[in-house]
Symmetry: C2
């Protein structure tokens, strides 16, 4: 996605320790047109990959919600965001464990059983593909439900964290809108996904 690559070059910044600051358009402040175009590009990429029959989008709170909703709008299917704390309104649920980005330690991702079943054909959409651990946890959660996982899409992939290799065993298409190959004091090396 050329527009995203340009946006990362223009507004992204490197904070050290492998951390990319893109909170002006991805995980704190959002621009509606750009966010909606994430959905359009995911749909176009999965169409080209011959991914068909998607009837549900799954993501994880918090930063996955906006790109996942944008994608759900394009497919006109429901989106479910996995919760990291069990709300009082959640009854029986599927769960999977993933490392926590914010706190260290382990986060439990939870999806209500009533909203995901073996009849579903699912795309997972998230903001980042880095180590792949959160996405793998979501994939395990989808597997537990019996639903079919058709593909994984992420807005920004950090290829140098090798998450794509970890997800390869799932044997499904993985689509990134932008891929960052290196990130250091010399700059951000980013290309179209």
């Amino acid at each position: 996605m050329t527009e995203l690559v340009e946006k990362i070059r223009k507004d992204g910044s490197y904070l050290g320790n492998g951390i990319l600051k893109v909170d002006s358009f991805l995980n704190h402040r959002l621009e509606p047109k750009l966010t909606l175009s994430f959905g359009k590009h995911f749909k176009a990429m999965f169409d080209e990959l011959a991914v068909k029959g998607v009837n549900k989008i799954i993501t994880a709170e918090t930063s996955g919600i906006a790109p996942a909703l944008a994608t759900a709008i394009c497919y006109d299917v429901a989106v479910i965001y996995a919760r990291k704390k069990k709300p009082v309104t959640m009854l029986e649920h599927y769960s999977a464990k993933a490392p926590s980005h914010t706190k260290g330690g382990i986060t439990k991702l939870m999806v209500s059983k009533e909203f995901l079943s073996k009849d579903d054909k699912v795309l997972i959409i998230d903001d980042f593909l880095a180590t792949g651990k959160t996405l793998l946890a979501l994939a395990n959660l989808v597997k537990e439900s019996g639903a079919e996982l058709l593909g994984i899409g992420c807005v920004i992939e950090k290829s140098f964290e090798h998450g794509r290799e970890k997800l390869a065993k799932l044997g499904i298409p993985i689509a990134s809108l932008a891929i960052i190959d290196s990130l250091d004091k010399n700059g951000i090396s980013v290309r179209k996904g």
Copy 2:
């Protein structure tokens, strides 16, 4: 919003202790068309209330993100979701304290200073108006930034928790898409906002 009132009657359920379960369309699973129509209705209500010049939407993670993004799409302005844990990418920030729904205790809501300033004209959009404490915290945060708060919109108001009275001192329009007047074992009494 008639469609939302019908949706609450059809898919909402009462779990006891004043808790309304609407996670099939508001805070776990989302339907794109319904979510987008939240935005359209907020815009129409604020237009009718002569609220003009909105250039930013503010909400709080997590469940506020979808209705706030839908509203930002209609206004074609940026949306910022206040964070409850400080991300590593957040530098200087405004903050306000609100009671935590999930954990008890107090949650700190944080917005980066770089994304909100005295030149902004803000609408706050959230999923629920109950006691009004979270919305009041967001209003205080906007005030701290020097931005002008033009109005507050929430998808579902529980009028029996009297949040609207608490927000009245702000002297700004408050718009709810659906208002629940009572919630008990006899049913959900809900009307258009």
